[in-house]
């Protein structure tokens, strides 16, 4: 059975992909993120827009296509996310 992922977990997966698993130095394309984060196109578009507006991701235009890289606040958010995921795990909860 597929594991249920919270909205926060999906954001964590997207940020982790843009930090640890980039295709090249320019960043990750939407298609690549869809595959890695296992999420639909319509849903990821909304999330990416939010993450860019919050300053957690940087949008890089490259040869007519958009790529996404994690920003410094994004790295710090991801670190906080991992810390508090572990904290909530202690209570048997998901953040």
């Amino acid at each position: 059975m597929a594991e249920y992922r919270t909205h926060m977990k999906i954001i964590g997966d997207i940020l982790a992909t843009t930090r640890d698993d980039l295709q090249d130095e320019d960043g990750a394309s939407v298609t690549y993120l869809i595959r890695k984060a296992n999420i639909s196109h319509s849903r990821i578009s909304t999330i990416l827009k939010t993450l860019v507006s919050q300053g957690l991701l940087e949008k890089v235009e490259n040869q007519g296509s958009n790529k996404y890289k994690i920003s410094q606040p994004g790295r710090e958010f991801l670190q906080a996310y991992y810390t508090f995921t572990n904290f909530a795990d202690n209570f048997g909860l998901n953040i």
Binding site: G55, E76, A80, Y81, F84, F87, N90, F91, G92, I95
Partner: protein, 212 residues
């Protein structure tokens, strides 16, 4: 002896609740997670409940010197703690029953059948026991899924708090026995077990309010 134990219990409860509440709040501010928001409310409520009872004992000891704490202070403190236990159980309910099934509705009404009608304080103690036992079971089940050792400590902590609540409630049947002191010692042990995994969270690396 009872007075001393009661003071230690309430002070430890206040400090442990406050520490976990602050930790949850920092987590909520950094991630915006609704789960951490519920934990914040839960542990600040638990902390406030213990603080109110502790204040009652302090006022009695240093100011009024009547020999017993005002009943309404005790009841108010326990009621606020119960709100905290409710939010812990509520978080587990959301995780376990949503969005999967409507089973939540049938479990949600169990406390209504089990509450005592003797006194308000007894009602709150009964509800607290149910919520704590539920929280302990759910936390233990999550350990079997994730194998996170901290979950064992939290499950034991919630379990001991539930047992302490039960023994404390049972001591009303035998008022002069050692049961009430035993219940307080069990609860102190529960609070310490609850704090152990939280004390290991590496908070120094988190920059508070960095995203604002």
């Amino acid at each position: 002896m009872e007075f001393l134990l009661e003071n230690i219990l309430n002070l430890v409860g206040f400090l442990v609740g406050l520490a976990i509440g602050i930790m949850s709040y920092i987590g909520f501010r950094n991630t915006g997670s609704p789960t951490l928001f519920r934990l914040t409310i839960a542990f600040f409520s638990i902390s406030a409940g213990f603080f109110i009872i502790w204040s009652g004992y302090m006022v009695e000891d240093f100011i009024t010197k009547t020999g017993s704490v005002e009943r309404w202070i005790q009841t108010l403190g326990i009621a606020i703690q119960t709100v905290g236990y409710f939010f812990i159980a509520f978080s587990h309910s959301i995780k376990s029953f949503f969005p999967k099934s409507s089973y939540f509705r049938s479990v949600g009404i169990i406390p209504l059948f089990l509450v005592s009608s003797v006194q308000l304080e007894h009602i709150f103690r009964s509800v607290s026991f149910i919520l704590l036992a539920y929280g302990a079971i759910e936390t233990m089940l999550s350990y079997f899924e994730n194998r996170n050792k901290g979950a064992i400590s939290v499950a034991v902590g919630l379990g001991l708090l539930a047992l302490g609540e039960f023994v404390g409630w049972y001591s009303f049947v035998f008022p002069e026995s050692i049961l009430y002191s035993v219940s307080m010692i069990i609860k102190i042990g529960g609070l310490i077990a609850l704090f152990i995994p939280v004390s290991k969270v590496p908070l120094t690396k988190i920059k508070f309010d960095d995203l604002e």
